[in-house]
């Protein structure tokens, strides 16, 4: 794929080869992301970050990526006081931002907002999350974390744990992992299990996902445990929520049976899904995971602006 000028709306816009190209480039940016070396790659370029709902983690990660590469950033962190608040359409806001910048990073509460933006923008748009919709750079950083912290993606036994029904992020990840040669297990209570449609999709791609409902069933085998948040609102009965949250919690006791090199991931922020005692163990990859967002986004930014091929 020729990346120059493309919009990044969904991870489904990429092939496995495209993803590997992005991640290979991301690897080379790690020292710059750490501040160990500097770069002027994006000198003279401006990135607009339009955050119609706050997401500090994602916004800072994008801004760090751009600034580490020597570029500049403008935009807003929440829509309060912007013309959007005064009733301007998203289409018009996008046209305006496209006139001021070389690429747009959009976070928006409505699903499909990024697709809309891509139609009205003459500079590349990156979807930084649209409602319950897509969040492709999250998937890229998840894959980058697995490569870096577990060595590679192919051949790994990966368990996705928690709310697999409603989280689109975990659907995108499952889709991307199915492009690789991975053994997937979906670990969730029956009411929050991966949607049938998604299971069919990944099966058609050649994955043979296993469905289980406890972490104990996968802990000894897994190379990667990817934990997602189970939201209280999904349960009409608070007692039921507490029970489920307890069963799917990652604790030092559960990890006693894990492989030594197994890693635990989480998109953050976590609530109670992983007990704090796990943080200091070698299993904890979730803080590093946040870091890998920076090189992954650097790679994407430099590719779609055509600064790197």
């Amino acid at each position: 794929m020729n990346f120059k000028g493309i919009h990044v709306v969904s991870v489904r816009d990429f092939s496995r080869k495209d993803i590997e190209h992005i991640l290979n480039l991301a690897d080379t940016f790690i020292p710059i992301a750490r501040g160990e070396s500097s770069s002027t790659l994006m000198n003279g370029k401006i990135m607009a970050t339009l955050f119609f709902e706050p997401s500090t983690r994602t916004r800072l990660s994008f801004e760090s990526a751009m600034q580490r590469l020597g570029g500049r950033v403008l935009g807003f962190a929440d829509p309060g006081g912007t013309s959007a608040k005064k009733g301007e359409t998203l289409a018009d806001t996008i046209r305006m931002a496209a006139a001021y910048s070389d690429l747009i990073v959009l976070r928006h509460p409505q699903e499909g907002a990024a697709r809309l933006a891509s139609k009205f923008s003459n500079v590349p748009v990156i979807n930084a999350g649209d409602g319950a919709g897509q969040h492709p750079t999250q998937t890229l950083l998840d894959l980058q974390t697995i490569r870096q912290e577990a060595g590679k993606i192919d051949g790994k036994k990966i368990a996705l744990v928690g709310d697999l029904k409603y989280g689109r992020t975990v659907h995108s990840l499952a889709y991307a992992l199915a492009m690789f040669d991975t053994e997937l297990t979906f670990v969730a209570p029956p009411t929050l299990q991966m949607p049938k449609e998604m299971i069919e999709t990944v099966s058609q791609m050649g994955a043979k996902p296993k469905l289980v409902n406890s972490v104990e069933e996968v802990i000894a085998e897994a190379d990667v445990i990817y934990v997602t948040r189970i939201q209280k609102e999904r349960f009409p009965d608070p007692a039921e929520y507490r029970k489920v949250a307890e069963v799917y919690k990652i604790t030092p006791e559960i990890l006693e049976d894990a492989k030594k090199k197994m890693i635990v991931m989480h998109p953050l922020p976590r609530v109670k899904e992983i007990s704090p005692e796990v943080d200091d163990t070698d299993y904890a990859a979730y803080f590093k995971q946040a870091f890998y967002g920076v090189p992954a986004r650097m790679a994407l930014i430099s590719l779609i602006t055509g600064v790197v091929e």
Partner: protein, 152 residues
């Protein structure tokens, strides 16, 4: 047309081979009868058909169908045929065909979809024909829950 139990029309359109029981839905999506029109509309339901077993049939006097309307019909009755009559003679006859993408014909059923927020856009859906016809919104990437209800 020996199965014709309806008065022939002079000028207008016959929608034939409608899936049995769907005629009223076709009427609904065409928005007929139009408030200020007194043209004859005849509807026959559960007519015997060698090809289909049963079928529905609609004859509309003094009315031509626009391309968009034919596409809408294809969504709820993909095997329908359209006959255009002029001066009691069949001027043209064709089968509807299901488009791969429809633009502006339907409304997304996802209330949180950007297409439902007053933006200057035309909705777009990909159309797949399996056991049922499915519409997938090209903006929010979700399937429309009720195809008939979604048609605008």
């Amino acid at each position: 047309m020996k199965d014709l139990k309806l008065t022939p029309i002079k000028n207008g359109t016959v929608i034939d081979h409608i899936e049995a029981g769907m005629a009223m839905k076709v009427i609904k999506i065409l928005g007929i009868p139009e408030p200020d029109s007194h043209s004859i509309i005849s509807i026959a339901m559960y007519v015997h058909s060698e090809k289909m077993g049963y079928k529905d049939l609609i004859k509309i006097e003094d009315r031509e169908l626009k391309k968009k309307e034919v596409n809408k019909i294809s969504l709820i009755s993909p095997n329908a045929s359209i006959v255009i009559i002029e001066k009691e003679i069949v001027k043209n006859k064709y089968w509807v065909s299901l488009p791969k993408i429809i633009k502006g014909l339907a409304k997304c059923s996802n209330p949180n979809c950007i297409t439902n927020k007053g933006e200057p856009l035309e909705t777009e859906f990909s159309v797949t024909n399996g056991k049922d016809i499915k519409l997938r919104c090209l903006y929010c990437d979700r399937n429309v829950t009720d195809v008939l209800e979604s048609i605008v």
